[in-house]
Symmetry: C2
Amino acid sequence: MARTTIDDVAAAAGVSIKTVSRVLNDEPGVRTETRGRVREAIASLSYRPSLPARSLAGKRSNLIGLVYDNPSANYVFDVQSGAMARCRDAHLRLFIQSCNDLGGETVEEVLAMIDQTHVDGLVVTPPLSSDAALISALEERRLPFVRLAPDDTSRGGPCVIMDDEAAAHDMTEHLLDLGHRRIGFVAGHPEHPSSRLRRQGYQAALDAAGVGENQPIEQGFNDTASGYEAGRRLLSASKRPTAIFASNDDMAAGVVQAAHELGIDVPRQLSVAGFDDSQIAAIVWPALTTIRQPAYEMAFAAAGLLIDLVRDRPAPAVTELAYTLVQRGSTAEAP
Amino acid sequence: MARTTIDDVAAAAGVSIKTVSRVLNDEPGVRTETRGRVREAIASLSYRPSLPARSLAGKRSNLIGLVYDNPSANYVFDVQSGAMARCRDAHLRLFIQSCNDLGGETVEEVLAMIDQTHVDGLVVTPPLSSDAALISALEERRLPFVRLAPDDTSRGGPCVIMDDEAAAHDMTEHLLDLGHRRIGFVAGHPEHPSSRLRRQGYQAALDAAGVGENQPIEQGFNDTASGYEAGRRLLSASKRPTAIFASNDDMAAGVVQAAHELGIDVPRQLSVAGFDDSQIAAIVWPALTTIRQPAYEMAFAAAGLLIDLVRDRPAPAVTELAYTLVQRGSTAEAP
DNA sequence: TTGTAAGCGTTATCAG
DNA sequence: CTGATAACGCTTACAA
């Protein structure tokens, strides 16, 4: 039951292991006919090169890493799926590392993972993509990495982004177009890079419409519970808003829940807008008008960039993907 | 910038690399004082042994794998988190492999992953845990594996389960206790192991109460859309049920949505129950009465079993974890 | 175009 | 209790 090795393939094809290695790595300098013979031997033995052996011997491990520190199941799932799909295309393996519930040892843990697994590069997802300590540590190691949705694209190498600010601006305009003038906002988690951008877009749109003053804003923390609390505060105020824009869908769902409890009809008496288009956006009642953030596609692109990077191919510094405003039942004309 | 190796540690501690290796692997035959000296050197150099080198040289890779083929973000996230936490405790790394959207190449892909990564064992999550072809292939390779929530625990080695049937039974009894006598059911995905068990529990409880005949049952596919469709069918029938029990939360959310659309008040006119206690259960309005499936804990336990297995320690064949009936706002007395 | 030999960072074997 | 040396399966450098 010993594993099939490169020697077995070489023997079967009647060549040296070096030639097999050349075929494996798509290196030039092998006659087409020889190459075919080797390929056949590989297939018939269903030989699969050992990743550990390759990474030990060569400069590459054919493994790239993805790190996250994010409690949102939907987002993490989409991001993993996108990155994995891209890796599959490139015949690379993806090593996924969670840093959830790690306290202050995040950087330490990521570095340990890098050293132990020999990953060739890293996809860094939000909010880690804006973690200064981590970014510096990676730069110091000279490990190629691509950041997903960081708040600052001016330094730190290639990244894949979406224009959160413009999206929030669009959504706010959507509400203004529906006739709303008092539009509450539930701000996102202060440590999340996109929170600031979304709030800026919201404020800018209100300012442009001349109603930027004294709009009610409450702090949330990106989970349903904090959205619910913020919603209750906003809806219990004397001058109640006719629309509430929450910085993500989970919080928007919380706002909808608060409205239900207070007997406020959504969308007739209150419009609610979310952000992310996560699974729950379509599940809550009424379904949420939201911004579809192409998490899968962004991760797919990020993995692609990283692969280019580790293969010494040129890669653009900033890749921006388009968002979409998804209009559903939770927003309507102002009462 | 060369990596810190076992030689560096050996030099710093004034011992041979073999002794360092012994300390690393907690092998006996090292004087306490020597061991301490080596430990200090490891810490001060922040040395981290190379996983590839270890797996190439030794019998173990210190890596275990987790495979899934499951579209539910919440479930996958919980399972990953649980397994990863257990691995962290044991100083092992977890290699996660998705088989989503792979068509018929699932077994092939898993075997390729095993060969390439040299994982010491595998946590097999549902529905792969009931995939006969995969299980046979793993047995043939003699790779240790632990199955999560398989439908058949009688063969295939250790597994971690929850009593789906008893849970569905309990939930149905809960509805009966509330006075419901016409209780619709939305069956789960036919290829999911638990679907059959949940349906059996539902039916058995009805039979025990003497109302098992002619209850309306619709087929769903574990997603919200199919739950919505099934809900519409159930609620449009001439003899409308006063309660609907869906085989998972996503479908229950779809039923709630259908009820909203038809102007049927939940829970006053219709009670709805789900299963899984996924994130959305608490988010939909009204929040779902459901069964909490301890996905995190089950995965944690499964990883623990697997670790015992690969370290040649005895492990129980079947580990059963307890579920909880979580009562929320979606169920109430029959009208 | 192909092959030979050395070595990657560990663990296993066996000797001291 | 400790250490020298040979693997492990591959890539790299260099020859032929």
